[in-house]
Symmetry: C2
Subunit: 686 residues, 2 copies
């Protein structure tokens, strides 16, 4: 499918991928240090993997997986694979030399660095731990190149280690359930880009997703039958550990807990609804923090869950507790006053201290969303910022370890470049070195109100690669063009592993319009995208039970055409006489404007396809304005003020979603408009 989109764009002359061997490294994330040398190590069916140092079952499984992936990559058997018993020469081996197992339970102190030396005689991967070797194997697999005659690894020397110890992805499985196989694909992808924390958001108002034997009504009444058995939880934790990924569970409390109360209403601040909440946002009832029974229940629940989740950290949520939840209950207000808590924040801090005490008994450190930040918070708590970047610094200044998530919400549908240019520890912040050291890293978040198991991967990837690189690579690695080039390769690597980065589009379109030629819609998808979370949804359903099988679901965030236009506009800004950039812009704009009649024809055949009409009209108009602006810019003429005003006004409208979709290139056409309206800098005969 990604190939397909590129195919569409490839019809435009300017779009050309260099052959892999002529390109700079495709590594993502970029390693700490890399030195290329002359020569290459040929890779073929005589290539052999050897484990030279420490070995345990986890390392052996990892090497087997690497062998199998290498075999698939080069379409030849790779000797040394478990089931192949043929004899091979010892030359040209890929040697894995590990010093030891690493931590029994992987923690943030785990050593993840490695070195990789490749010569024409062989490759050697060295690491202190098995996790380090896992990281190095991923690097090695990304280095495979080919020419007409053979596959090879380039000679080089890499010394690599992560910048931050906490590099995560949150997946919300409550709003929409994500099946086991999809989680495994996501873990595979995370391993590919060296992420190391899977933050599993397991409960919320719309679903409780883990089997509880102690309190079976939790999953029986709170999940629609869509939950993970305890065996499946263990399976995911083991799968993640095999890939050097920690699993941090989140059971969000005291709010976001409606699904708990369908089975156990007695712990709620008020009588909850009798069914799972289907609409998004705003819980009805939350945990009652004033009753001892609440803590007994939570303690028993946590005691049951602890053996499933060996990670030293435990996420308690803690977000979006609103005054109405407690102020609306006279008994709670009275209790709060009686116990001398001056406000609800202090009451929540009380709740959190109680939780922390329970977790400490199990040897767990507590994490929560930034609302939990309070002077009374236990000192070892970790605070995860989501409401704004400032909470990261606030937490660090108050002495709490902190994680960045605020700018990395994937449901905000921002371009990868936006996610990429955020730094958890900017070079010129106001923190002391000690405070900076409290910033452990961060997590991208895939909240699932508007994604299903069919579409989640297309929202996670490839943009998550940008976050992964930010968290792993040196601060100085910031070239956006370079990032997009490698993100494109990453998308193919992921699809090749089975991750549904872009292939969901074809599947959804096939279902929406079986037998119908939907190429115009696919072309549309190069320039339009879903709205961001919270944006006017214009008729989009806000109910969990409504199928996510519309055009907005088939579309992708940060579509390929956006970055293409941004690049071309930049070139034109640098040199208004750049004829190639001008012609490319004109061709693409024309193509997009000509989509409209084709989309109109399709819209007459299906209400679902008709969803494309408003955004196709807006795209056509945006493209026309872009075309006119390019005309002024390249002619060195200042656009008439009336035209510019009208165009600006029209573009402003297109910043909002048009129906359920929005045009992705509005900002760049606005830049063109600004260029067309400004006094030309060089061509006015000065």
């Amino acid at each position: 499918m990604l190939t397909c989109v590129r195919g569409l764009l490839a019809a435009l002359a300017f779009w050309m991928a260099l052959p892999a061997s002529a390109q700079p490294s495709s590594l993502l994330p970029v390693p700490s240090s890399m030195r290329l040398a002359d020569g290459r190590l040929t890779i073929d069916s005589t290539t052999r993997f050897e484990i030279a140092g420490f070995a345990d079952a986890r390392l052996r499984r990892a090497v087997e997986r690497a062998q199998s992936r290498l075999a698939q990559r080069i379409s030849q058997p790779v000797t040394g694979a478990a089931r192949d018993t043929a004899r091979v020469p010892a030359a040209r081996a890929i040697t894995i030399d590990v010093a030891g197992a690493g931590m029994t339970v992987q923690g943030i102190e785990e050593v993840e660095g490695y070195s990789l030396v490749i010569t024409s005689q062989g490759a050697t991967l060295r690491s202190a731990t098995v996790v380090g070797a896992l990281r190095g194997l991923e690097t090695m697999l990304q280095l495979v190149e080919g020419d007409g005659g053979s596959f090879f690894l380039p000679s080089l020397e890499i010394h690599d280690a992560p910048r931050f110890p906490w590099r995560g992805l949150l997946v919300d499985v409550s709003r929409h359930f994500m099946p086991l196989e999809q989680l495994k694909r996501t873990l595979d992808g995370m391993a590919l880009v060296k992420l190391n924390v899977f933050h599993w958001h397991l409960s919320d108002d719309q679903g409780f997703r883990v089997e509880s034997r102690r309190f079976p009504l939790l999953h029986q009444r709170g999940s629609d039958g869509l939950f993970y058995t305890q065996a499946q939880v263990r399976e995911i934790v083991a799968y993640a550990r095999d890939r050097g990924i920690r699993v941090v569970p989140e059971f969000d409390m005291p709010g976001h807990t409606t699904a708990w109360f369908v089975g156990y209403p007695q712990y709620a601040t008020k009588a909850p609804p009798i069914a799972i909440r289907r609409e998004w946002g705003g819980a009805d009832a939350i945990f009652d923090p004033t009753r001892e029974e609440t803590y007994t229940f939570i303690a028993q629940f946590i005691a049951e869950m602890v053996p499933l989740f060996p990670d030293p950290y435990w996420h308690i949520g803690g977000d979006e507790v609103e005054a109405k939840h407690w102020d609306g209950n006279a008994r709670i207000v009275a209790w709060r006053t009686r116990h001398g808590y001056k406000d609800n924040a202090a009451l929540q801090a009380h709740f959190n201290r109680r939780l922390s005490a329970i977790l400490v008994r199990h040897g767990k450190r507590m994490i929560g969303w930034d609302e939990i930040l309070h002077p009374d918070l236990p000192a070892k708590t970790v605070v995860q910022s989501w409401r704004g970047v400032q909470y990261l610094a606030n937490s660090a200044r108050q002495g709490f370890a902190a994680l960045l998530s605020a700018p990395w919400y994937l449901d905000y549908m921002k371009p990868a470049s936006d996610y990429y240019t955020v730094d958890p520890v900017p070079q010129f912040d106001e923190l002391t070195p000690a405070q900076r050291a409290l910033v452990l890293g961060g997590e991208a978040c895939m909240w699932a109100e508007f994604v299903s198991d069919e579409t989640a991967e297309s929202r996670i990837w490839p943009r998550l690669g940008a976050v992964a690189e930010r968290l792993w690579s040196p601060r100085e690695v910031t070239d956006v063009a370079e990032m997009y080039r490698r993100l494109d390769i990453l998308a193919d690597r992921l699809e090749g592993m089975g991750v549904r980065v872009g292939s969901h589009s074809a599947r959804l379109l096939a279902r929406i319009a079986p037998g119908v030629e939907t190429a115009p819609i696919e072309s549309l998808f190069t320039a339009v995208q879903p709205p961001r979370f919270g944006q006017a949804t214009n008729g989009r359903s806000t109910n969990q039970l409504h199928p996510l099988t519309r055009l907005v679901d088939a579309a992708r965030p940060d579509p390929a055409g956006r970055w293409m236009i941004e690049r071309l506009v930049r070139r034109l800004a640098l040199d208004p006489q750049d004829v190639a950039a001008r012609d490319s812009l004109l061709v693409v704009f024309e193509r997009w404007s000509l989509l409209l009649p084709r989309v109109e024809a399709l819209a007459a055949t299906s209400p679902t396809l008709a969803e494309a009409l408003p955004v196709a009209r807006a795209l056509a108009r945006t493209a026309v304005i872009g075309t006119e602006a390019v005309g002024f810019v390249t002619a060195g003429r200042v656009a008439p003020a009336d035209w510019a005003r009208a165009a600006a006004e029209e573009l402003r409208r297109y910043e909002a979603p048009q129906g359920t979709l929005r045009v992705a290139i509005v900002a760049d056409v606005r830049k063109l408009l600004a260029m067309a309206s400004a006094q030309p800098a060089t061509s006015d005969g000065r």
Copy 2:
């Protein structure tokens, strides 16, 4: 991906899909009788499913699935779905009225007919059995259409029942293991086209795929760890039953049994190899039919398996037993002589009678491949023809029930039209009515030497739809153009359900060349295809352990361009002055010939992509010859004899695979050549 291929072809002006609503019915298979009426039943979120008559859990699950699929199709919730409790009006309901459960264990006598009446007021589906309702629900889902305002079902009346009671697909899971999820997708697809037998080829020389507790070395040593647990077997059987599909197990014997002997060598005719056979073809050792221990072992094994497979039929294989297996063992030859069996066929008949006796004790009827046909065969045995169509008639003439498979081997990579034009009971055969009644139907066969779990579906679909229609629809339904039109829609329906009809191409290409623009290869795949089983493989691996991740695996059988060219050539044959057909042919031929330099550029970047070179050259040359032939035909000139001879010779070479792939349009260009070489019939001034 299919959309993508159509996208590529869509660039050619002649290729246009009508909007769904303007088209004739897209039903596949065509029902026995259908009468369209005026009017339509609007389908939206107020549409309600009602079960009016008999109901059991199987029917309820089926209706829930239908509701969910309808909801996904129209991208709106469909009321009545299990988890939606909203109240709805009773008008415009889809009523399911079933008389009874049907057979406790589905057999060939199961009543599968149904009627479906749709008016603007509602739809009513009536059937005698739950299986009949399953068939009718599939029909109903295929009937959904849309216009710009709403979705609807057309008013009509359908009375439908199958022509043959046995309509199957064999899937070989031995040569390459097929995971549970893939089998489920295949069963979903089978239900869509109303097939009713899943023939599960569970053991062969290259793998024994079922857990045996009685004889655990069977799966422990015979499967590389790739086997189905007994729980998983039950899961598949239940999944199939829910879709009205019988599961017929095949444990092939006495030959094709190397994998058995890795754990239990004592029952073999000779010392077998110590490992699973990896190369294709020709077993080394087979069951020894002269020793009582063999039958004790088989009887105990079958006794363990019988509870897993409730179907009344049991497939014993029986194919490819060669003289060398028995003649090479002096003790067996002596035994055969001593017992008065005149040849090995008689000895195999002895073996089969012993097997039959074991099966009869369990209430099972025996099926086997056509080699088992022998006068001594028990009368109720069913014979499955694979070596040639004649064995079907032979079996029926000898009084045996029979199944057709010979022309329906999917690994022969024939075009769908070839599979479609076969009739198990041709109108003018020499059988008596009683003999004809012995023809139960047939099975398409997906042997798995050259397919993996990643590619099998692309070989099964959409061509299996042609076989399904042949077995279900009236004999008179034979229009190939109509079939291809509906097969194209079927492919999208299947992809929309998750079946990997064409989407494997994008995945494999992404892995073969991450980040590389592979549009030229995708264009190539519109006109080239994998070789058929048994054709010179030109360097293709014949070893089970070699990865099936090459271009030949990413390609598809019966590519879209083949039928396109066949249609255009037919038009030109009817009217050499058909300008549109001429222009279309010339445009497509030019496009294919221009692929060569682009493929050459790609070939320099990867040995895997270089695999495309020889076939790209052959396609370019074939296209050039086609262009020249079109020139002669449309100009009304007879081609010079020298040119025609050279062209014919060249085309003959291109009938063979070029490297691992072969050109799919050679036969049609040969037709053009014949037209160009013949005296023109109408334009010679006569």
